[in-house]
Symmetry: C2
């Protein structure tokens, strides 16, 4: 359907916005917009505001860089959790995946990605300095490197090992129950729970 | 992923809103929201506002009931179009589909659906009275019934024929180039263009 065919500029704007999302084509975007048009105006206003607020009001935890509604996330500020064990993950989906196993009672550190020269992502683009700062303080007993078992994940594990092995801290990785080549967030809960319980000392 | 696992209420709200759209599951909704989080706040604000405006500011043409940014839509207010020929369609997607063929220079009348006893949609739920009012005035020379060739479309054609055949107006239907059982909006442009050119007098 060509650009000029929409009977309304408002309709066209909304379709363009939805079509800018990953995996949403113009036909799908149009159907979503038509669905919104059938709804109560107040309900649609709530939808729009939830999007605006999401981006304008969301925080990232100043300690673990996980997404949060406040300066410090609910996991980092939970006194019942063991803040001396840090689980290093790539992104917030991975925090959610590990939380879902209910096997881990430490805290997290979200790197914000993995080292990937192909995509132009180097160590300086990730939250590695702030991780080293925490370890440097000497109160961390263990760092679990819970990265995907991909080439980029392995590279990042190796890099973290080189940065952190000079400190008095136990460096572990997830047990190799996670199939090689798998993305962490798609791993089933049982495998992932077992892998975090059977974590091993890091070996080069 | 269970409800309580989102690290932020703002995130959860936005995921819930996207997941309320047809064909969007919670996993997909989460990916869309993560995509928005990576964008510029101003860009995300524009997205949210486009949704709110869409519903709060959109008009329906008082003449043809097509979607519009003003009281009368751009097609009805176009002096170059022949307002004595009315093409009756089910919804705005069908207006767009026929406009795309560039074969029709009359105006439209959007019924807002078709008669469907199964779904509880009767003639009173559709814009049929306002169509009859236009025909009653005596300035309409032809009404093209361009409804889908489904059972509901045929029923509506028959009903419209009974309501309008008492007036001095030519009642036509799309040529049966449209395959029986097909939805109008998915018909290819050439078939649809041919069908509107070869329209035939209505036969019971």
């Amino acid at each position: 359907m060509s650009f000029s065919e929409y009977p309304s500029k408002l309709l066209e704007n909304a379709v363009n916005e939805f079509a800018s999302l990953p995996g949403i084509g113009r036909k799908t975007a149009f159907r979503l917009v038509l669905n919104l048009l059938k709804r109560d105006p107040q309900e649609v206003r709530k939808f729009g505001e939830s999007i605006i607020k999401l981006r304008s009001e969301i925080h990232y935890c100043k300690s673990c860089h996980n997404i949060s509604d406040s300066e410090t996330c609910s996991i980092c500020s939970d006194k019942r959790r063991d803040s001396s064990i840090i689980c290093v993950v790539e992104n917030i989906q991975d925090v959610m995946a590990i939380e879902n196993t209910r096997q881990f009672r430490g805290v997290y550190h979200v790197l914000g990605g993995v080292i990937s020269p192909v995509d132009g992502i180097g160590p300086a683009d990730l939250w590695i300095d702030s991780l080293e700062d925490k370890v440097k303080e000497g109160v961390i007993s263990e760092v679990i490197m819970a990265l995907s078992t991909t080439m980029e994940g392995d590279t990042t594990n190796f890099y973290l090992y080189r940065r952190l092995s000079k400190y008095k801290v136990l460096l572990t990785t997830l047990a190799r129950g996670v199939a090689v080549g798998d993305e962490l967030e798609y791993t089933d809960e049982i495998t992932l729970g077992r892998a975090i319980n059977n974590r091993n000392p890091y070996q080069q």
